[in-house]
């Protein structure tokens, strides 16, 4: 059965007098991958924020796995996102952040494969570093590593390829592709169509979603 993970109908958002999203419709099936593209300011991030309930739309209906997106623990156990800028705990190393996330979801570090994941994201030699001391690219890698380490059913990612080098992009794309093969759903925004194709997502232009 083709069940939808995300259902957006007639969504409208404006900032003051500027209408960013007008009558947007979007459906993402369970197990599908959708990559939103479009120029800066067209509303990609705004749409992702609305889907993750981090922004309230002016009008329209949003459903995630058949219910309204919310701030409940159940919602956040199913959905992992990089739409917001991350925060880091004081005095906790990169590896300990990863362990904290895995343990909160009931996995031991060994079961979750923390060390392999950090190695895969090029953070193996930075396991003892404090996240604020990492470079912006490394922080982006850590954010993605945490997002992919924890169990989830839906990933909502805002320009995951940002600040990554070519090798990093390729490995993140491969991991997203594997995530989908395991039954996960991906909705992301990106400017890199090669990356989107490598991640196995279908590209949808924002201009096609926004009613004229």
């Amino acid at each position: 059965m083709d069940q939808s993970a995300i259902e957006v109908r007639d969504l409208s958002v404006s900032y003051g007098a500027t209408a960013v999203l007008v009558g947007v419709d979007l459906t993402v099936s369970v197990g599908a991958g959708v990559c939103l593209t479009g120029e800066n300011g067209i509303g990609k991030s705004t749409l992702l924020r609305c889907v993750t309930s981090l922004q309230r739309p002016d009008a329209g209906v949003i459903e995630v796995f058949g219910g309204p997106p919310g701030s409940t623990p159940e919602f956040w156990r199913a959905v992992a996102t990089t739409v917001e800028p991350p925060t880091w705990y004081a005095g906790l190393t990169t590896r300990e952040h990863a362990e904290l996330v895995c343990r909160a979801h009931g996995f031991s570090p060994r079961e979750a494969g923390i060390d392999e994941a950090l190695e895969r994201f090029g953070l193996g030699s930075h396991a003892d570093a404090l996240p604020p001391s990492l470079s912006s690219g490394q922080k982006q890698r850590l954010t993605l590593a945490l997002t992919l380490l924890r169990p989830s059913r839906l990933l909502i990612l805002d320009e995951p390829e940002q600040r990554l080098d070519a090798e990093g992009r390729a490995s993140v794309a491969a991991m997203l592709s594997a995530y989908r093969k395991d039954g996960g759903t991906v909705l992301m925004a990106s400017h890199d169509e090669v990356f989107a194709a490598a991640a196995g997502t279908s590209v949808v232009g924002m201009a096609d979603l926004v009613a004229p």
């Binding site: 623990p73 925060t87 005095g91 190393t93 343990r103 909160a104």
Partner: protein, 496 residues
């Protein structure tokens, strides 16, 4: 090379061209008025701190106070630089082809004047607390003068520490040691009930000799410091300028968290850590708090030492003791609440962990509660041992106060930024900003759960186990109410 004074004059002239006329005058007027009003309100209390009605300190205690003040002043000067520039000057003038000595000289003067003034005030305070009245005129001038010279000397040691890491590597620990030794001396003195310093202490001859010796050392060294001023490395000056800027922001925006955040950031930036597995048997957030507490050994050590502070109060009324113990519990509980502050500011990690706000806060209360319990129990035990309390299981009352300190610390950390958009309260004395007031009382209000302890300590009667049980019951009920009123099982974010 351009003349700094000319550049500064030009900057000032250009700024004043687009600044509203009289703006500077208004600022000066408001600042002066604030000082006068606050000074007028607190004049008597402030004077009593430096110059109490009757001196009561013993001679060894006076020496301990001198040590604590000396170490404290050095540390304070180190925190503020002592050499710093305003942020615009640090950005534009430090990199410009101007004389570095002239650029930094005003800052050195300011530090010297402030350091000397603080030293002189310290001298007065020692006279006020220890010297038998009437204080001879010669001592009355000489000790503050020696204090001022010592303050100037401390500016020089702080300056040397700012310029070279080799110097700071031993001068900073030495200052901490001085403060610790001074406090220990004060404690030992209050426990031993030593006699008050004899009349004629300090001898004018000794103080005069010390002052002359200090002058002979400090003045030439000061001249050398002026000569070598340009050698202070840029990064040190930039760091001090950022510190001073953050302090200014904090005062101007009435937002103390800016300073707390800066100190926290600097502390962790210096640390080199090794990842350790989180204790597996504990709930995950409790395990994380434990890791954080273990990584702040200095703070734990200070807290342990501070558990003796309530006994230093002398023989105050019971309710003052109770308030001191409660406030100490709040501070002790605050060792790990940086994690709560992170979650309250941005719940990204809480969403990543997928925990409800009720679970998160309940777990986050554990380590602060235990630390507060241990602190209060230690403080009350020290008081009992030193004979400051009637018989009874006071240590158990301390343990029962743990949840109170824990809730107060967590509540204070959850407040977040000061809300300066709230309407001010108009009173006959002038208007009061409500935002900072509410922020200042967040957390303190939770100490109301310690009212049974105040009632038990105030009359000076022996303590019964019933009293302990009442306090424990109030604390348990308070924790339950706090959790059900401010958190939810269906919400991740700490703020509703």
């Amino acid at each position: 090379m351009s003349d700094v004074a000319a550049v500064r004059r030009w900057v000032r002239r250009t700024q004043s061209a687009h600044r509203e006329r009289g703006e500077t005058l208004t600022t000066v007027y408001v600042a002066l008025l604030t000082v006068l009003i606050v000074g007028g309100m607190l004049y008597q209390q402030l004077t009593a701190i430096v110059w109490p009605a009757a001196p009561s300190m013993s001679e060894p205690a006076a020496y301990s106070l001198i040590m604590a003040l000396t170490g404290g002043l050095h540390l304070a000067l180190r925190r503020l630089g002592p050499l710093g520039l305003s942020r615009p000057a640090a950005s534009w003038l430090l990199t410009a082809p101007v004389s570095r000595r002239r650029l930094l000289l005003p800052s050195l003067w300011l530090a010297t004047v402030a350091g000397s003034a603080a030293g002189a005030l310290g001298g007065f305070a020692i006279l006020g607390h220890a010297a038998a009245r009437p204080v001879p005129a010669a001592t009355d001038t000489l000790l503050p003068a020696a204090g001022a010279l010592l303050g100037g000397g401390l500016v020089l040691t702080a300056l040397a520490a700012q310029a070279g890491r080799r110097w700071s590597a031993w001068s900073d620990p030495a200052a901490y040691l001085l403060v610790a030794a001074g406090l220990a001396g004060l404690l030992a003195d209050s426990a031993g009930a030593a006699p008050q310093a004899p009349a004629g202490w300090p001898a004018a001859g000794v103080v005069g000799t010390v002052a002359v010796a200090l002058a002979l050392v400090v003045v030439p060294l000061f001249l050398l410091a002026v000569r070598d001023l340009a050698r202070t490395p840029n990064d040190r000056i930039l760091e001090a300028s950022r510190t001073a800027g953050t302090f200014a922001d904090s005062v101007y925006g009435v937002e103390p968290s800016f300073v707390a955040e800066m100190l926290e950031r600097r502390y962790w930036a210096r640390r080199r850590l090794r990842s350790r597995p989180l204790p597996a048997r504990l709930p995950v957030l409790v395990a994380q708090d434990l890791v954080l507490a273990r990584r702040r050994p200095g703070r734990l050590l200070w807290l342990a030492a501070a558990a003796t502070l309530p006994s230093l109060l002398g023989n105050p009324p019971g309710w003052v003791l109770a308030l001191a113990v409660l406030a100490g519990g709040l501070v002790a509980g605050g060792v790990t609440t940086a994690n709560v502050r992170t979650d309250a500011g941005n719940p990204w990690m809480l969403r990543m962990l997928g925990l409800s706000s009720r679970t998160a806060v309940a777990h986050r209360l554990v380590v602060p509660g235990v630390l507060a319990a241990l602190w209060c129990a230690t403080a009350l035990t020290v008081l009992t041992v030193l004979g400051g309390l009637p018989p009874g299981p006071w240590w158990a009352l301390g343990l029962a106060l743990g949840p109170v300190g824990g809730i107060a610390a967590v509540r204070a950390a959850r407040t977040g930024f000061v809300d300066n958009s709230l309407l001010p309260l108009d009173t006959p004395m002038g208007s009061i900003a409500t935002g900072p007031l509410i922020a200042a009382f967040a957390g303190l209000d939770a100490l109301l759960l310690g009212v049974p302890a105040i009632v038990l300590l105030a009359p000076g009667d022996p303590l019964s186990w019933t009293g302990v049980a009442v306090q424990a019951a109030v604390a348990a009920l308070g924790t339950r109410l706090y959790l059900s009123a401010t958190t939810a099982t269906g919400r991740v974010e700490l703020k509703a």
